[in-house]
């Protein structure tokens, strides 16, 4: 494997976030999940008006505050301090989730443990017997947003595939994912299954397939 690994350069975390950010057009209402997806906002220029939503009732989030300008009453769903852009607004939790569940968000970007080629996503528990599973808003976001994109490493830390023909972890939602951005590729979920849109520089389709349990397709 090392011989082939040397031939390509995976996307860095920053580049992964940039890849997602580049595909978000002005005017979209977007929720970014906790973890790597949160970094996507840093790569959308402020003059491209994308409106970021957070589950705890924040619409129109801006960049993180400078240390001496923290507003202790303004946090996001990851419980980090945030800012509001001009035009930002607050609402209560049921209205905030009405934005999600009512299909008003153009896009949600989540991390995941596994994505299947029918769009199933597993991102909240790695066992049926998790001691105290914590789901948060993931199921609402996955079922409710107009589009669900996943941003994650292509394979797990132990090398096992995360793009699979069937999720083995407990599901978050069925047939929900439209696109997956990884450190190796960008892949659309279509009726044919996974279709590869983009690969890390130097990576071959065969090499990508070798790191993917589900069958990959090239664009028609």
């Amino acid at each position: 494997m090392s011989a082939t690994t040397a031939e390509f350069k995976p996307f860095s975390r920053v580049m992964m976030a940039q890849n997602v950010a580049a595909d978000i057009p002005e005017g979209w209402y977007v929720n970014l999940g906790i973890g790597i997806p949160t970094a996507v906002a840093d790569h959308v220029p402020l003059d491209r008006e994308v409106i970021f939503h957070s589950e705890n009732g924040v619409l129109g989030m801006g960049p993180a505050p400078e240390k001496d300008k923290i507003e202790p009453w303004l946090i996001n769903a990851g419980k980090q301090y945030v800012t509001l852009r001009a035009g930002g607004s607050m609402c209560h939790h049921a209205d905030s989730f009405a934005m999600i569940r009512g299909g008003h968000l153009d896009l949600c970007v989540l991390g995941a443990f596994q994505v299947a080629d029918n769009g199933d996503i597993a991102n909240w528990a790695t066992s049926e017997n998790d001691t105290a599973p914590a789901v948060g808003g993931a199921m609402d976001l996955a079922a409710g947003a107009k589009r669900l994109w996943v941003l994650m490493e292509h394979t797990a830390k132990d090398g096992s595939a995360k793009l699979v023909s069937k999720c083995t972890y407990p599901l978050t939602a069925m047939a929900a994912v439209k696109r997956v951005y990884t450190n190796l590729a960008t892949v659309d979920v279509t009726e044919r299954g996974f279709v590869v849109l983009n690969m890390a520089p130097g990576l071959t389709f065969e090499n990508l397939q070798a790191r993917t349990e589900a069958k990959l397709h090239l664009p028609a």
Partner: protein, 227 residues
């Protein structure tokens, strides 16, 4: 003259019964009625069902209430927190029941209770273990599951401003579950940072009208701390 403002914690917590379902607002420590939770600890009601987004942190507030063995069951979306040691210990020992609810379903179950809607269909959780044992129905080609409203015997709320009629405003992310908890509870008790004269809160700015509020306690503690 209507005056919902109470002067003491004992008055705020009067007549809370064992076995109550208590809806507790808050997301992180922002908009979380910590002083009222301490009041409930002091008041002594037990065999409680607590519904809250999180299951407490450290050994204070909700975690303390659980540690004292006063909570039979917790309904929440995210039992993990920065320091969920009390909950996890009790849960592993089988000393507390846990009902995990997707966060939006939790909010909507509370809102529905406040609006007199006993149950509703939602797409959230379909095909997951949240759907096991629930009624499924196909409506306009999509599958939904039936979720029950979540009524509170007691609701604990933190407001930014309140007047003697119980009209409330909130500050920024401090709003979170507060307005729906106020709507869904038979007895809604509020801690507020500021007391205003009747008429001083602009009608357009009132978020929770006083009809949803029973008791108001002035607790000017300042800004929320860590999470």
């Amino acid at each position: 003259m209507i005056n919902k403002i109470v002067q003491t914690m004992a008055d705020a917590m009067a007549d809370i019964k064992d076995g109550s379902t208590v809806l507790v607002s808050g997301f992180g420590s922002v908009g979380q009625p910590n002083v009222l939770i301490d009041g409930l600890i002091e008041q002594g009601a037990k065999d409680l069902t607590i519904a809250a987004n999180n299951a407490g942190s450290g050994h204070v507030g909700l975690a303390r209430l659980m540690e004292l063995g006063r909570v039979r069951r917790i309904i929440c979306s995210f039992p993990r927190s920065s320091d969920p040691v009390v909950f996890e210990t009790l849960y592993r020992a089988g000393k507390i029941e846990l009902e995990i609810v997707p966060q939006g379903t939790l909010a909507e179950r509370i809102r529905a209770a406040g609006a007199g809607v006993p149950a509703f269909f939602t797409a959230t959780g379909v095909g997951t273990k949240m759907a096991v044992g629930k009624e499924h129905r196909e409506i306009n080609g999509r599958t939904y599951i039936l979720e029950d409203a979540l009524f509170g015997d007691l609701g604990l709320v933190e407001a930014w401003e309140a007047d003697r009629w119980g009209n409330l405003t909130y500050k920024l992310a401090g709003r979170n579950f507060n307005p729906i908890v106020a709507m869904a509870s038979k007895l809604t008790v509020v801690q507020t940072q500021h007391i205003r004269e009747l008429g001083d809160i602009h009608p357009d700015h009132i978020v929770t009208p006083g009809i949803f509020v029973d008791r108001v306690l002035h607790v000017p503690y300042g800004d929320p701390g860590g999470f």
